[in-house]
Each structure stands twice: as C-alpha cells, then as structure tokens.
Subunit: 205 residues, 2 copies
C-alpha cells in the first residue's frame, strides 16, 4: 500500500482515485481549485485528502489528470517539487471530434511534459485507453502504458497489478505518441458497435 498523488479534480482523477482507494492505497488530490479538490476527495472517500497545488506531492507516483492543454502548465507550476517523482500522464490530445490527435510524432503530450519536468522526474503515459467508468469498476482490466525509464515502468506496473489491472508495457517515451493514437482506436471501437464499456487490451497465448 502506498500514497499516490493526483493532480486534477475531474472525472478521470476521481476514477483513478476511486480505484486506488478501493485497493487500499491512500489518495492525495491536488487541484488549483481547492473546492473542486475537496469535492473529488469526498467522492473518493476511503481516507483521500487534499494536497497543496504547487507543493511537493506526498506520493512518489503522481498522476497528471488534467486536460491535455493544461498538462505542461501544471508541471511547470510545480517545478522542482516534482523532482524524482514518477509522473503518469493520462491525457488525450483529441482533435475537436475525437477522430485524430493534435500532437505530432516526437511531440506527444507526454514528451512535452518530459521536456518541462525536472530532469530527475520520470514520465509515463497510461490510462488514456480506458474510459473512466470502466476504470472505476473493480473488474480485471488491461492497461497499456509507455514511458521513460525502466525503473519507473516497473514501479507503475507494480502499482497497476495492485489494482487488479494487467499492465501491458508498450515501450519507451517515443511510444507515448502511439498510445495517443490508440485512444482514437478506442473511440472508433466505442462508436462502431463495441459501446462505451470497451477497453483496449491484448490477447497473449
């Protein structure tokens, strides 16, 4: 059991918090708007608490659950307070109708975050191919992830397993752009018969 920190107070922040708390982790919610952070904490329950925006998060694993447009700014707002942390970017840089991404190869949101974060921070992408309601349920589920640093990937994988998720490592930081496209694939499945309870995964013989 560990403490995780979530920067963000929206639906995905709450969904990650609910799942983490249900499996015995302590959840810190960090938002620029403390009223919204308090509301998210109440929704999560189970010992969740409000952290201080801009200060060092309590958790070593810090989820960036803000809109993609604000992710780099949120990282800059915390500056050196994120030194040594493992940052998990969950954002999706969808275009207006969710049919493509506004990022370009080599410049995923995650890669932009990595460029803005302290050099000692490690940056991953995960949970962007899972709808919030699916994630909040306590069913087994695959979670695709990618990112910087073997140790940080192992740390995330262990955390995911503790939530009854099967972590599927897709590779290094350059693969985070591919994960951004994978979310468009998920949208396509949802819109064409699979419905909104679908999640991407893998079959391994």
């Amino acid at each position: 059991m560990t403490t995780i920190s979530i920067i963000g107070t929206g639906n995905m922040a709450t969904a990650i918090g609910i799942r983490a708390a249900r499996y015995g982790h302590t959840v810190e919610i960090i938002g620029r708007d403390r009223t919204k952070a308090r509301a998210a904490v109440e929704t999560i329950g189970d010992g969740a608490h409000v952290g201080t925006y801009g200060a060092e998060p309590n958790g070593d694993l810090v989820f960036l659950a803000v809109l993609h447009q604000g992710a780099v700014e949120a990282v800059r707002d915390h500056g050196d307070a994120l030194a040594g942390k493992t940052l998990v970017d969950i954002t999706n840089p969808f275009n207006d109708d969710g049919t493509g991404v506004v990022t370009t190869e080599g410049h995923s949101v995650t890669q932009q975050i990595a460029a803005a974060a302290p050099p000692s921070a490690h940056v991953l992408k995960a949970f962007n191919t899972t709808f919030r309601d699916v994630l909040a349920q306590a069913t087994p589920l695959d979670v695709l992830f990618a990112g910087h640093d073997e140790g940080a990937r192992a740390q995330f994988a262990a955390f995911a397993r503790s939530l009854d998720l099967r972590p599927l490592d897709t590779g290094g930081l350059e693969m985070t752009y591919v994960l951004e496209w994978a979310a468009i694939l998920l949208m396509g499945l949802a819109r064409n018969g699979a419905g909104w309870d679908v999640s991407l995964g893998a079959q391994i013989r």
Copy 2:
C-alpha cells in the same frame, strides 16, 4: 462457405489461406510469380488453387497480402477486374525499424488503394494487427478492422466470424490510418514483455 481470393504469396497470404481453408472456405492464391503461388497453394492444401494475376479474382472478398510498397501497383495491375469486389488491405507501412509508419494522416496505404481501385470496389483494412503465426492458429482471436462501406464491413465481419474470429469494427476508411499505428502498438507490446504471440484486442463488459 465461400471462395476468397488472396493476392500475394508470402507468409501472411499463407496464414490467411490456412485459416480460411481450415474453416471450410475455398482459397484462391494470386501471385505475379506463379511458382510462388503454387508453393503457397501446396502449403495451404484443402482445395486451394492458383488464380491468374491481373484477371478477375474468383472471390468477392479479395485480400491484398503483398508488401505495402507494392499494394497500389497490385491494384492497378488488376484494374477493372476488381470492380465490385471487397478489397481487404492487410499491409503495414512500417518504417525501417518498426517504430513508426511511413504514411501520413489521410493517406494510409488503404486510402491510397481506395484511390487506385475501381469506384465500385470497397476497401477495408484488417489483419494488420495480428502476427501471422497467431492468425494461422485456430484459437479464438480478435480482429480489428476499418474501411469503406457498411455493407463491405458487414461482409468482412461475417467472414471473420466464420473463422472463429471476433470482428471489431473501428469505423470508416479514415480509421485505417489509426490501424496502421495500432500495428506499431502491437510491435511495442511484443518487444516489451508480451512476446510474439500477442495480439491486439478489446475487453467489452
């Protein structure tokens, strides 16, 4: 049971042929090199036969199982002989090290094929997120697909179900570019712990 045609004589052509033949379909193999086509037919067995390159394929469902660089040329070589057919592009336009695609948004290989094919042909992409050895095995498996025309998508889905595959419709022709990225995701999974028996799929509650 139906007849399917496969343009191409390589490993993926053989894998699709083996699976189709195993489930009772008749397989026509069409290759510029008749010797290679004959060899593929022998590998497939079960009534598979060699077709004539450039002539009208016997099947209504025609798989384009050539290298991505030659796919448009193969379609042009057949010209109006492909009128009214459903063409299934299985190619992957990988870059040299399989970490990205050489196509651009709006110009997937499938979209290039659609532009070169007779107007009455419908063009899909499928099987590009499944390794050949996995496909050739008769286990249940998810198959992601996308493409032009509701009717053609339904036709492909019915064929896939007849092979004990679960067809997962991801949308229209524009989604074929997303499927090309999905194959890079598959490569990332294979290289980072999942191994080469992995296949992309979906979890649906």
